[in-house]
Symmetry: D2
Amino acid sequence: MNAIKDSVHDYIPVDPVARALLDTPELQRLRHIKQLSTVRLVYPSANHTRFEHSLGVYHLASRALDHLGVDDDRAAHVRAAALLHDIGHGPYGHQTEEVIMRRTGDHHDEIGDLLSSSVAGDVLEQRGLDLERVAGLVRGEGELGQLVSGELDVDRMDYLVRDAHHTGVPYGTIDHGRLVRVLRLREGRLVLAPGNVQTAESMLLARSLMNGVLYRHHVSRIAGAMLDRASERLLDETALEIEEFRRMADHDLLVALCESVPELGRRIERRDLYKRAAWASLWEVPAWVPDLDYEDVRAAERDIADAAGVDAGEVIVDVPSRPTLKESETRVVVDGTIRRLEEASELVGALRNTERAQWRLGVYAPGASTADVRDAAADVLELSD
Amino acid sequence: MNAIKDSVHDYIPVDPVARALLDTPELQRLRHIKQLSTVRLVYPSANHTRFEHSLGVYHLASRALDHLGVDDDRAAHVRAAALLHDIGHGPYGHQTEEVIMRRTGDHHDEIGDLLSSSVAGDVLEQRGLDLERVAGLVRGEGELGQLVSGELDVDRMDYLVRDAHHTGVPYGTIDHGRLVRVLRLREGRLVLAPGNVQTAESMLLARSLMNGVLYRHHVSRIAGAMLDRASERLLDETALEIEEFRRMADHDLLVALCESVPELGRRIERRDLYKRAAWASLWEVPAWVPDLDYEDVRAAERDIADAAGVDAGEVIVDVPSRPTLKESETRVVVDGTIRRLEEASELVGALRNTERAQWRLGVYAPGASTADVRDAAADVLELSD
Amino acid sequence: MNAIKDSVHDYIPVDPVARALLDTPELQRLRHIKQLSTVRLVYPSANHTRFEHSLGVYHLASRALDHLGVDDDRAAHVRAAALLHDIGHGPYGHQTEEVIMRRTGDHHDEIGDLLSSSVAGDVLEQRGLDLERVAGLVRGEGELGQLVSGELDVDRMDYLVRDAHHTGVPYGTIDHGRLVRVLRLREGRLVLAPGNVQTAESMLLARSLMNGVLYRHHVSRIAGAMLDRASERLLDETALEIEEFRRMADHDLLVALCESVPELGRRIERRDLYKRAAWASLWEVPAWVPDLDYEDVRAAERDIADAAGVDAGEVIVDVPSRPTLKESETRVVVDGTIRRLEEASELVGALRNTERAQWRLGVYAPGASTADVRDAAADVLELSD
Amino acid sequence: MNAIKDSVHDYIPVDPVARALLDTPELQRLRHIKQLSTVRLVYPSANHTRFEHSLGVYHLASRALDHLGVDDDRAAHVRAAALLHDIGHGPYGHQTEEVIMRRTGDHHDEIGDLLSSSVAGDVLEQRGLDLERVAGLVRGEGELGQLVSGELDVDRMDYLVRDAHHTGVPYGTIDHGRLVRVLRLREGRLVLAPGNVQTAESMLLARSLMNGVLYRHHVSRIAGAMLDRASERLLDETALEIEEFRRMADHDLLVALCESVPELGRRIERRDLYKRAAWASLWEVPAWVPDLDYEDVRAAERDIADAAGVDAGEVIVDVPSRPTLKESETRVVVDGTIRRLEEASELVGALRNTERAQWRLGVYAPGASTADVRDAAADVLELSD
């Protein structure tokens, strides 16, 4: 079997189906989509892509399937799903996810339509694999779908260690070798073998620490918010269709933004970013703020810009959704029974509170106008001091 | 400046005082005391020593002192204390700590008497360093003593990353590069700079995870308990004095035990260990059990052996002290004021509960008699099912 | 001092001049130029950029300067030169170097003109640094210029370890910690301290091994040759000026090629590359082949295409220059005298021969026509079997 | 299958035979024999043992056997041989090899007699494995014996990467993942697949570089020579039999030496070593010196001591054997035929010369007498200046 050298997992053996899938335009495109998009503006080494990550997820899935002793047909579908799980991402990954959702209603893990009209789909069919089963696994359906997209999925196992390797931030270095060994299928669910409450906790903790210093770093959030607004304008102001937009790679979008929305595009390209005019915790904002929808947010931006006397495009309000903690539904076997991790772990509840404590409203503007925008935002959004 | 190659910190520059201290018998002896003593029976690669760890602590102290901008005289004392902080350890480090405490009342970080009659003490005096100040720093006295022995000390920064490197368990890989950079001296205390609640939490979490899989692994605890009982017999049954005992190296003690207490010594040497007859959480033992003192425990062992019909030496009862969480007193600057970490962090309280959840009473016996001993222990210690 | 987290060197302290330089468009552009350009088509994780590499070179230069005890003014110029040493690179780095050379005569390490009309140049002047001295250092002038661009430069120290980290190929992991410590200035030259013949050899060996599996991998060479021909056509067939071309970033060029030279651009983007029609060692080609200049090569391509009956653009002849071994001029102190490494090392001569043994002529064509092109190339280039 | 966590290979799956072998006294003893014996006096972190190394060799053998597709029975014998290959080592490994050879004629890889009277031998027989076949494999017999003890064996693959990990010296980090994948059985020999001349070279180069800075470091050689002389005296002057001696662990020998030969034993324990009185290359010694046998060497020591006016035991002459380069017999497939590596590689000849260039005669004595001993040694051994 062929093997590909990877910075994280060393040699990754690649089966013939995977080999064929790797050559398709759908997977080659992922070479041009960075895993951490705007995080690289904070951590200069964070330039790894969804292509290598997809290989890593495929690899961990293969190893987990070996340990679980899953039969060949099911395993083949899971391996294909693992490799393809990210082809639904738009340019800059999660940073354009909401633009695409607002215009198509699709989440990136909905790859059914894409598969049915793609070279990758043809490859699957030629090899006797069922497209709909693969798409279902990517959506997390079925007991093995949880391996690809669930509380314990190999997706996050790979990205935590990979992001750690390529940024230098050690918090993500979980014991993935152990995790893929202690997975079990019990009562139609993927669970962790007895004695692994701490193994499960370690993954939640890693993610929580990585959230704080990496995934939600304010510089990355500012650049991401600028990218969102720039993408909206690109779609509103040019003939570009959303279906074309979502199939772009990072470089296509960056060049298009530099050309069509240069006042934001050039800033992103040169890391000449807006600054924080406001940065408020859950306890500093009124209860209605976290529930603002996109239209409300854009209206607030206009109100703040008016009040501050700046151009409408020069204020960005960034309201993250209310914090959740998906992994807390992880199941572990404790004293012979399957239990939800949050029942078995003291830390899960605390992490949920930590998530709440880390929530921040951001209001961003060009450096010169942050003082004015801060005051206006405090008024419009009723921020407490 | 001379430099020594280290597996964890690469080249460690060594100043002339440190160079001279390294050549003393007191530090050379640490080459023969393993950092993780009986943990190596679980993790075969865990053979690193307190010598290399002492170098690592010296190195992190030096870097922290540079960042803190401490003056030369104070820095010289702290560096010497960092290098010497472990010379008070007996053979097998923490595993003989209680034997020594029971007979001398001394804790391993009390090195004053040792220094005053040692080559290392002579070196310090020749170089114009004050022995008592160095010993005080090792005890954690003064604001800089906290750097050597405190909630945020470089001792644990080094051992977490070193233990991770030499065992392969990734949980200990904290961001020590960041930690030494964000230390500050404020109001006579060592604190973490603003924005570092999570940095502090990461160190507590690392230690908690390492506790679970490494430091308190039951195989290591069994071997440690056997070592304690064997050491007691060695001191009771031979002419060996405690002052000689505590200055032994690992190999001296192992050879002495194999010779004088072979029924335990040989077992430790060959990893032919007792097994768990009982293993009970805080919720499975009566409230008086965690408070048993050493004499009570030995009496319980005799009672259990009687009831089980085995030799007195073939039952070991292992009662850890009640869980504490020293790092929770770490101070961080939040919103301009110095706060205790547990006030600023949701996770600290949860970790305290995790410590309680991980507490286990152990009763150990040779494999053949565990069933009988289990029943007897349940009776004597009133264990619930 | 501020610090930036790096995947290779951990925290890199950044002085105020460097801080200001990092924010200039000239350095920010390097975020968009990959260090290994087309090598990433073989090693999927190799996506690191010249931006992070420049930071690494700056860091190693800073450390070497500390060890060498160089005065502040000279050190400031060297640090700036280290940080700026790659701003002269065109898109895709070395892969467009020859296109640019053919049209401008400039090598990438000639940054004098660029500096004098750039924001980075303004920053240098504001900080009292001499542009021409910085440019001279980048060209390798003076004894400290050798540190930036010479046989022992920190440039290659950084790229070897960085390329190893991001590809997973271990051969590049040299002991850079030792190298920066054993540099000495003697008689106006940078040399290695006594006892370091092997230290110097290790760097040559690392590069030779990396050449074989990484830098000169045939897939990377094919993609690079396609990029060269596509760039020529882009410049010939569109209004794009060479001065604009050389300031492009990777994404600009890729988008331009996909648009204007899609038959090559799309292939590069999708890794749908030409295949090897011929691959011949020095001993399989006539003596005149390695000396062919660019016009000769293009003529040979047309002749081969004619003979094979394919379109002219569908044959690429790739003739590397004759092998050299620059590092062999490295100086080391042996028995008190400065000697050239090749006098002191048995391995240097052998490596020179290894370089010759690894030389390969390549002839590339689309997969369908390689058989025909192979025969035609054998005729035109008089290849032996 | 059970798995053991290793610092180098992460989880090592352990089959039932290996599990049983690991619990035998013969393998448990290897926990107490350090892989790098006296090298740890130079590299403080180098405390890893032959136990973990044996696990690593077992692991790489298992992976290589999988890739080679060897049948179960043969594979079971090879895996057992890999795990047991070091049980013949005396205390301090190679450092007592010659003492044992001189008195028994046995090399450490002759484990036949040992196996037939050991618990490990019983385990093998109970599991239906043939002791003599296992012993033969350890001696390198048969085509698969080459995998355990040959030019391309997994023994050196493991120790190179393990020694690198535990010392911090990067030179040993070979691409063992690739090496185990490109092994092939051809014409009754183990060879490397086509395209792997460089893969083979990389292993020779790694070993050559590690020789220079690690395995043959003069401090380690001095301590090793002191250990040899001290062991001779222990055997000459006490009732200790060679059969007991060779079954000792490191700690047994160190304690015995400290007790019975304290003038050397204590020095080794405290790293208070002899110094170099002479250190001469092949070109500085008469042609007869490298061929001196042990009796000649001891006579020379006495002559030098006489001439220098010091005690006979205070001069040690250390004459390494003439350099060889075993790996050069490695076979690789080049252009379809199996060739010896030295025919296919320019570097092999150069490395052979490098080995000669690194050869050194050492004469060691206590620090105070090195000047006198130097002069006497120059006379007796006819050293040129």
